[in-house]
């Protein structure tokens, strides 16, 4: 399936989901759905660096929060300058750019080292950034920041529906990007980095450059997911924005869903995200996080290829461990750079 076709199909699905949610008549669907879609983006973004390249990022919360706090900074600035409201896509671009740049910078410092050091560095980054934000009064510091969510936005109407729609479009973009990477030369490069970096270098793969690309794209997507968050939540607090639940979810969802393709994080996010939304309402949110933790440990031990892997084993095909499934079109023009 060519990428434009894939994109079209998913845009149609998105339109159908949006229409269906409108039909339900209860805005709660949009509130809950937003969170699930947010996790689709976070999980997919994490997987580009974690699943494809094999480099674990524990600091998803940091990149997410950078996007959120960029929005807060711009919001405050715009408020002073009387330019309001700012369109979400614009905020996403800024949030994405900031997070992408930080991802690149951090990658540049640590990606020459082993994966384990990179992982620890991402933990460090999350704490350093949280400390910086807590000490920065312009965005509210430890007191938090209030964002006034507009009531309506034409032509969609209710603002929360607008947020839902933009997040859904971002989710479609994320899985399309992930799939595009998988099927390109970049995808092969990432897979070799995961399998054997030394052999990859010897085969001519510029591993550092590719790792930087992965970190930047991953960070940028996470930042884009974080950009609308202040509008969603209205009151932004560092402790919860930098919270561990973003880190654990963005790792658990791809690992549970399956790390070798774009399908895994999508399934993981939809399943786990919905599960958590239900659990938060019926049980407590702490218990639901505990469940995520247990599921993560369980899957990582018992079903390392995730739900996608289990599915393939059940169908008794050879577990598709390679990146995507390639069918080489004999007369297709060149390789993607």
């Amino acid at each position: 399936m060519r990428t434009p076709v894939f994109l079209l199909i998913w845009l149609i699905v998105a339109a159908a989901v949006f229409g269906g949610s409108l039909a339900v008549g209860n805005d709660y669907v949009f509130f809950a759905g937003y969170v699930v879609l947010q996790y689709v983006v976070l999980g997919t973004a994490w997987n580009i660096l974690g699943g494809y390249c094999g480099y674990v990022n524990f600091g998803s919360a940091a990149f997410f929060a950078l996007g959120a706090y960029s929005t807060v900074a711009i919001y405050k600035f715009a408020l002073d300058a009387d330019f309001y409201p700012i369109p979400i896509p614009f905020l996403m671009l800024i949030g994405g750019a900031v997070s992408g740049a930080v991802g690149f910078g951090m990658g540049y410092l640590t990606l020459r080292l082993r994966g384990a050091f990179f992982a620890i560095a991402t933990l460090a980054l999350a704490v350093v950034l949280e400390t910086l934000v807590v000490n920065w009064d312009y965005v509210g510091g430890s007191r938090g920041a209030y964002i006034i969510r507009p009531e309506e936005i034409a032509p969609i109407g209710n603002y929360i529906r607008y947020l839902f729609l933009t997040m859904m479009l971002l989710a479609v973009a994320a899985i399309t990007i992930a799939r595009l990477i998988e099927r390109s030369r970049l995808g092969y490069g990432f897979a070799t980095i995961r399998d054997d970096e030394l052999a990859a270098e010897a085969s001519g793969v510029p591993t550092l450059r590719l790792k930087l690309i992965a970190t930047t794209i991953s960070g940028a997507l996470m930042g884009m997911a974080g950009a609308p968050f202040p509008y969603y939540i209205s009151y932004l607090q560092p402790s919860s924005t930098f919270g561990l639940d973003y880190a654990v979810n963005s790792i658990a969802m791809p690992l549970i869903g399956g790390t070798t393709s774009w399908v895994g994080p999508l399934i993981g996010a939809l399943l786990l995200g919905s599960l958590q939304q239900i659990a938060t309402v019926t049980i407590s949110s702490a218990v639901n996080l505990l469940i995520v933790g247990f599921l993560l440990v369980f899957f990582v031990i018992a079903a390392p290829n995730g739900i996608v892997g289990l599915f393939h084993t059940y169908l008794q095909r050879k577990p598709e461990e390679f990146v995507g499934r390639r069918r080489v079109d004999p007369d297709a023009p060149g390789t993607v750079p």
Binding site: L198, A199, E201, A202, E321, P333
Partner: protein, 250 residues
């Protein structure tokens, strides 16, 4: 050799006074060696003598603290391994390092995509697919093209290693103990393959323990013992060298 002399050397690969230590352990000391274009060089030495370390330093997997390596007149200092591969310097790993999650065909595809395609000599996916199959055919692994490396025997993995190194279309290929464990006829196959590559203009450095193969293939022989080069010359003369005899026989 002074910098100017080294620069003036027309040989394809010039290793000049190379040294490498691991902490207190001296792995390589004062290694100087040059390989002319089109040569067939054999590199032998007891286990632990530093052959693989030398290969690693030449190819950029390890950094040597002392000395310099020149390829095609260009100093390789500071160049990453993938850059050296793209310049035409290739090696197979002594312990095979296949890409475990990719099929055999994809294992070959990677060097084609990243080294050969980067030079602009191959363009379409079709051509790349063809080359994958051709290369696998040359080492007899065509039938297992869609299999994963874990389905291969040790011997087949070595052949895959060699095929992957060949896929980069090197000017100089270092074959590190490719023949370990092969049968008589398989050794002949590999030797024929390497000879054919050489006829096509590829310089070959053969690192082996199988003396019969090394002696028949090499036009020149270099012997490494305990990190030092102790002999360098025509195979027969080198094997008669008393120091070499001592190193091998006791």
């Amino acid at each position: 050799m002074s910098d100017a002399e080294a620069a003036a050397n027309p040989d394809l690969l010039v290793v000049d006074d190379l040294g490498k230590r691991f902490g207190g352990f001296v792995a390589l000391e004062n290694i100087s060696l040059s390989v002319a274009a089109g040569e067939r060089l054999g590199l032998i030495g007891p286990n632990g003598s530093g052959k693989s370390t030398l290969v690693n330093c030449i190819c950029g997997t390890l950094r040597n603290e002392q000395g310099a390596v020149r390829f095609n007149g260009q100093k390789l200092d500071g160049l990453a391994a993938h850059q050296r591969t793209r310049l035409g310097l290739s090696r197979s790993f002594q312990l095979p390092r296949p890409f475990a999650s990719l099929s055999l065909a994809d294992n070959i595809r990677v060097p084609l995509l990243y080294t050969v395609a980067a030079r602009g000599t191959i363009h379409t996916a079709h051509e790349i697919g063809e080359r994958c199959h051709d290369l696998l055919n040359e080492v007899g692994l065509e039938a297992k093209a869609q299999h994963l490396p874990r389905d291969l025997t040790q011997v087949e993995m070595r052949k895959l290693e060699l095929a992957r190194a060949m896929a980069t279309e090197p000017k100089l290929l270092i074959a590190d103990e490719v023949m370990a464990g092969l049968t008589h006829s398989e050794i002949e196959e590999i030797l024929t393959l390497l000879a054919r590559l050489n006829e096509q203009g590829v310089t070959i450095i053969l690192i082996e323990h199988i003396m019969r193969a090394v002696m028949s293939f090499s036009r020149r022989l270099v012997v490494l013992v305990s990190g030092k080069k102790i002999a360098d010359g025509a195979p027969d003369a080198v094997m008669r060298d008393p120091e070499v005899e001592r190193a091998y026989l006791g």
